[in-house]
């Protein structure tokens, strides 16, 4: 009963957030521009890497959703003080966090489906690779939504946020082997790449799709790291949402 009460209103808040986000069609459209730019660079400079880059673009798009959570949560809290209204209502803080992250996921999914369609044309995925892709993308969404939400609670003005948002997306999305193969990374850095959620997800999908060859140890490390980070961080996100529901 207590569990049901705690999550009551989640569905309505999720639907509200989806509706709010779907009005932001320009933001949804422009969210595809950075991965689009990297796809263009690859198409011009190294076309043979295009399927790997498309998998990377899907992973990056999921990570970008978390950064949209960062901006949205900060905007609601700092500019509109709307979170105080939500928190004063029967909606629980964890429903607020999950609803926000879920709303972003649904609203920002269409561009990812377009990328998936292009990938299917260039390099069709079988059932195993498709399932791996879905699980890995959900794990990346869980990690990045939590990072986005937690970071958003640490700032008091919107202007300070963007450098951190840009830093996170570049550090997790552009530098590690998300848009390119793990094999291009110096051997000493490969274990670090396997521990990062974005590159772990990308190399697992690449391996499942036959775009990259991984050793059993590398695949196990990447899978355990990604699963552990997704579960632990999402649980931490729920804890953090409860803890920061009311400002001191």
């Amino acid at each position: 009963m207590a569990f049901r009460l705690r999550w009551a209103g989640s569905g309505v808040f999720l639907a509200t957030e989806i509706r709010v986000q779907l009005h932001e069609w320009l933001a949804i459209l422009t969210g595809t521009l950075t991965p689009g730019a990297l796809i263009v660079f690859v198409a011009i400079l190294a076309p043979e890497l295009l399927p790997v880059t498309l998998v990377g673009a899907l992973v990056y798009s999921m990570f970008l959703i978390g950064q949209r959570v960062l901006n949205e949560a900060a905007y609601i809290r700092i500019d509109h003080k709307l979170n105080e209204l939500y928190h004063a209502s029967p909606l629980s803080p964890e429903s607020y966090f999950v609803g926000l992250a879920g709303g972003m996921l649904v609203a920002y999914l269409p561009p990812s489906l377009v990328l998936l369609g292009i990938l299917q044309i260039l390099h069709p995925l079988d059932a195993v690779a498709g399932l791996t892709l879905i699980v890995c993308l959900l794990a990346v969404w869980a990690v990045s939504s939590t990072i986005g939400y937690v970071v958003s609670t640490l700032f008091k003005d919107m202007k300070t946020i963007w450098p951190y948002s840009a830093l996170l997306t570049n550090l997790f999305g552009v530098v590690p082997p998300v848009f390119y193969r793990l094999g291009s990374v110096p051997v000493g850095w490969r274990s670090v790449a396997l521990l990062l959620p974005t590159s772990a997800a990308a190399v697992l999908v690449d391996a499942a799709a036959g775009l990259e060859s991984l050793t059993r140890t590398e695949a196990t490390v990447a899978a355990i790291a990604l699963a552990g980070e997704a579960l632990v961080l999402f649980a931490f996100g729920i804890y953090w949402a409860r803890r920061t529901a009311r400002e001191p």
């Binding site: 932001e24 320009l26 933001a27 459209l29 422009t30 969210g31 521009l33 950075t34 689009g36 730019a37 990297l38 263009v40 660079f41 690859v42 011009i44 400079l45 190294a46 890497l49 901006n71 905007y75 500019d79 919107m158 202007k159 300070t160 963007w162 450098p163 951190y164 840009a166 830093l167 570049n170 550090l171 552009v174 530098v175 848009f179 390119y180 291009s184």
Partner: protein, 252 residues
């Protein structure tokens, strides 16, 4: 009248630029990430390009990163002027002050050049390490950077003056400046662009800046400096006129 006397006793000129430089510096000082991220951003892209592209293109990509970083100042100007106008209402104070709109525009552009300078200087040092740069090459590079800085800052501020909510800043800025960054051949020779795209790219000032810089550094032998220089000035002038037309100084 009584209020005017002490105001007139103060110097009326010469303080705007240092004041805006101070605003730029305070922004860096208060938010270290704001200094680190613009410094790192071109290097993130460069690293990615270094991994995927042939190594002989690296000097061209370093020069391209300098232009791209300068072009990005426009995006920061858009964000800054939107915060000043919508959130802080600071623009209202400037409108009511003796500062005119040209100085305000230039001030925002100047204050945003400050956080970008470290990245541009470091990229310049890397460029001199990876390829020989003549005096002519440096002059062309600096002239192109200044042109791109003025033009894209003006575009950023002009677009920002039409935004009604902070929420629009990120998508609009991203749309304009990422698209412009992709369309111009900053990171590769224009000859690599598919037909059709190359023609569209030739409508953009950054393309001519890239061609001039690539030519001056000896990376693109077929550059016609007079034609490309003339087209850079012409396209920049058209862009500045458009920005001036779009720019809204006072609210209606």
């Amino acid at each position: 009248m009584a209020a005017e006397t002490p105001l007139r006793s103060h110097p009326q000129r010469g303080r705007v630029l240092p004041a805006w430089a101070f605003i730029g510096w305070r922004w860096v000082w208060r938010s270290p990430a704001a200094a680190i991220v613009p410094l790192l951003q071109p290097f993130f892209f460069l690293y990615f390009l270094h991994v995927i592209a042939p190594p002989e293109l690296f000097p061209l990509q370093v020069a391209g990163a300098m232009l791209f970083s300068t072009q990005n100042i426009g995006s920061w100007c858009l964000s800054d002027s939107a915060v000043f106008r919508i959130e802080l209402r600071l623009q209202d104070i400037f409108v009511a002050s003796p500062v005119d709109k040209v100085r305000y525009l230039f001030g925002i552009a100047f204050s945003n050049l400050i956080p970008a300078m470290p990245a541009i200087v470091v990229l310049g040092i890397i460029l001199s390490m990876v390829t020989a740069v003549s005096l002519f090459g440096w002059i062309v590079l600096i002239a192109c950077i200044l042109t791109i800085w003025i033009l894209y800052s003006a575009i950023g501020i002009a677009v920002s003056s039409r935004l009604r909510s902070q929420r629009e800043v990120w998508p609009v800025g991203n749309l304009i400046f990422t698209l412009l960054g992709i369309l111009s051949p900053l990171y590769y020779p224009i000859s690599r662009l598919p037909s059709g795209w190359g023609e569209i790219a030739r409508l953009l000032p950054a393309t001519y800046a890239a061609l001039l810089v690539q030519g001056a550094l000896g990376l693109e032998p077929s550059t016609n400096f007079a034609v490309d220089g003339g087209l850079l000035i012409l396209s920049a002038a058209v862009g500045l006129v458009a920005a001036w037309w779009l720019y809204e100084w006072r609210e209606r």
